[in-house]
């Protein structure tokens, strides 16, 4: 189990330049999560690289406490397009 605030803080620190982040507990059990993250640090990176940056920020949390994490990652530019 892990708290949403912990995930958000780890991602903000590890990824950096986070301008928008939403972390949702999908099941109410604090182990299945989804996160939407907008960061300038994602600019010019492939989706694989972007997700690897988030996984790296969460480190050992991915090896136990977080059973599942659905990710949506955007650079500010791609986020603006997404919002249309």
């Amino acid at each position: 189990m892990v708290e949403a605030e912990d995930l958000e803080q780890r991602i903000r620190q590890g990824v950096g330049d986070v301008s928008h982040i939403v972390v949702n507990d999908l099941t109410g059990t604090k182990d299945h999560w989804e996160a939407l993250i907008v960061s300038e640090a994602f600019s010019g990176k492939s989706p694989i690289e972007q997700h690897q940056m988030v996984y790296a920020a969460l480190g050992e949390l991915m090896a136990g406490p977080v059973h599942a994490l659905a990710l949506k990652t955007y650079s500010p530019e791609s986020w603006a397009k997404q919002e249309g």
């Binding site: 989706p47 694989i48 997700h51 996984y55 599942a68 990710l71 949506k72």
Partner: protein, 106 residues
């Protein structure tokens, strides 16, 4: 990671054009994320080899190091890591997956 494990994983990826490392099998997925990718590949009309990591603890652990990717499922096409559930599903929804799956001419 042990060299032999690394070689085993590399061998699986080299010997199959499209490989899905997943929990369960394509006929009986045992995780929602794995089931999603099986369905995406089915809709995309792709033949693929499934590798059930639940039956092989070595691969289950090793595949996470192999691509520096801590989650399963993982999709590989012609030797290249394509992504996990979210990335592949998004490629499918955007219509980008066919180009990745179909062999390039010449």
């Amino acid at each position: 990671m042990e060299d032999t494990l690394q070689e085993r994983i590399q061998g699986i990826i080299d010997n199959n054009d499209v490989v899905l490392f997943m929990k369960g099998t394509k006929h009986f997925p045992q995780c929602g994320f794995s089931a999603t990718l099986v369905e995406v590949l089915r809709r995309a009309g792709s033949e693929f080899q499934d590798v059930n990591v639940l039956e092989d603890p070595g691969i289950r652990h090793g595949i996470k190091e192999f691509s520096n990717w801590p989650t399963i499922p993982q999709l590989y096409v012609r030797g290249k890591f394509v992504g996990g559930c979210d990335i592949v599903r998004e490629m499918y929804e955007k219509g980008d997956l066919d180009a990745v799956l179909s062999p390039k001419e010449g």
